[in-house]
Assembly symmetry: C2
Homo-oligomer: 379 residues x 2
Amino acid sequence: MKVTENLELRDREEDCININPLQAAGRTYPETRMAVDSYVDGYSVCDWCAGALCKMEKPPVKSFLEEVSAFLNMDQTILTNGCREAKYSVLHAITNPGDAVVIDGNKHYTTYVACERARVKIYEVASNGSPEYKINPEDYGKVFEQVKKETGKMPKLAILTHVDGSYGNVVDAKKVADVCKQHNVPFLLNTAYSSGRMPVDGKKIGADFITASCHKGWAAGGGNIGLLSVTEKWVKDVFAPSAKYGVKPLEIIGCSTRGSATLALMASFPRVRERVKHWDKEVENSRWIVKQLEEAGIRKLGVKPSEHDLNFFESDILYKISEKHKKKNFYLYYELKDRGIVGIKAGLTKNFKFSTYGKTREQVEHIAWAFKDIAEKFG
Amino acid sequence: MKVTENLELRDREEDCININPLQAAGRTYPETRMAVDSYVDGYSVCDWCAGALCKMEKPPVKSFLEEVSAFLNMDQTILTNGCREAKYSVLHAITNPGDAVVIDGNKHYTTYVACERARVKIYEVASNGSPEYKINPEDYGKVFEQVKKETGKMPKLAILTHVDGSYGNVVDAKKVADVCKQHNVPFLLNTAYSSGRMPVDGKKIGADFITASCHKGWAAGGGNIGLLSVTEKWVKDVFAPSAKYGVKPLEIIGCSTRGSATLALMASFPRVRERVKHWDKEVENSRWIVKQLEEAGIRKLGVKPSEHDLNFFESDILYKISEKHKKKNFYLYYELKDRGIVGIKAGLTKNFKFSTYGKTREQVEHIAWAFKDIAEKFG
């Protein structure tokens, strides 16, 4: 239906199985939606402002962030407008233009763009390429040495995409952290596709900074919202307050997510804290569907066996169908939708990715059936 | 009621008259709330991603932003995470650390903190102090000359708070723009308390940049969301894309409000575009209530007569009551709440501000009655 003029409402998730990896773990719970509705008006979160969003006691943002720090096993946490904004905050706080920063080849584009915005010199740790696209932790050390050779100094920061959004490869973050420690390089772990889905233990890993995407992985929905967790050592530099307004952290210009997204994140948190304990079931579902699709000739790229709910596939069979189907390369999107499934980007048939996060086994079986049915019907 | 653990839902606005200036014009409309509910899940706005949020055609973000540019009479507009983030984007794009920037003494703290984050040298145009706190446009020229004298150069940017959030003073922005033009200083107009409430014509004023707070003034509620509008001349510098990801503007790290707040803003826009035409009624209500309160001995500070819905008051009468009332300085908050009014900060009695924005005349009369009734009952 139309709301106003040409603005249409979105189909509710309840109407279909959504396998978009960007959205699967950002889906809200009923109590999240109640919180969003309750705090839907502008600046409603500021009813009882105590000077700064992250220090608020009503709603209990301060104690919530303490719980988040414990959950991630880090020392202090602030709310950010998203994961990209959290990455930029660290970059802006601890680097100067021209400094070297090392990132991984499977990074999200926002890691690169945040670095560009911070005007640092970007060095990349390449993956091993097709078909695995694996990041080798030891390669961080090699790139650090290259930076040293070229610039005379170690890089100011290393960033690792814990789980990348293309292949769902889970990198051994502890090994990367160890390499960083050996070279005395601060280490930022981007958990956009890990925290909120799977257990992440910052201290055990050895991360200096953890950034999280909560509309993506913590069922926060609503507006965009992220987290920046740091170890005690970095509080002074990264959470530094304004010289004039002592309660306002510079890197979030005082208050970041000053709206319903904060309440949404808080409302979802008890479920998120619980769900990461069942990560083994998610991996089991993921491996099961990969097996089914590979039997039907649809090949998984990335590291095998799958260690994440996101998988990337390559399919000559589905691509060939697009050459004769009357809906051309859009047929797969519509055929899946006819079977109650959305989330694969319209137009893709040869290479695509999807996620089974949060799906029941019955739903996972239905997804496998749908791909097989389409391949058989038109192949 | 409680949602989860210790998280309580907020009273809905329908239950009372909200006169908090921060919230009065950020209240959502029914169709806004429908849009928020429809797009409540994480990254739902990205269903049909066309590479960048501000270029999306479904939902029609691109054409919406063109309409916003026309509405503000500027050339190009992008979505930001809020007004403070928009200000920082301009500062970061066109200044270097150490550059001089001129701001006004009535600025919101975020203008100052955004400048600090951009590491620029801050010069202030002071107001004329109590009781008017008026910003004299000509004083910008004097401060420009002072900057020139001290640094050898004109400032890189001048920022004016069109309407300040303390006294509701409306500054003659065109006069400030003229002074900026005479001195060849780029001019940013912060419309957090003006656009979305009252007509703002960027070209007529002569602004290079306009920043807006949409959860505050455009009935967008939901998450935090703002706008950054610029003239053609500044598109290249301020909306510059990533060198590697050509569709992604650096200063919003690709996509800013990638959630329901964008849809909320779009859903409210037809009403916002209409409501600014009735600004005269808002000013009329504001002047009427000031007259009533002053008759009761509650004095308005700031420029008179009032030109905005926000007014700042000083009251010895209400303060004296707090010295003997059993609820002490919290009595005013509770006495107003008993009369169906919320939005004055709990604990304030001597100096406080409120807004009559969007209220019916009956509601404005009720607010005036409530203050008089409290003063009479306890005074």
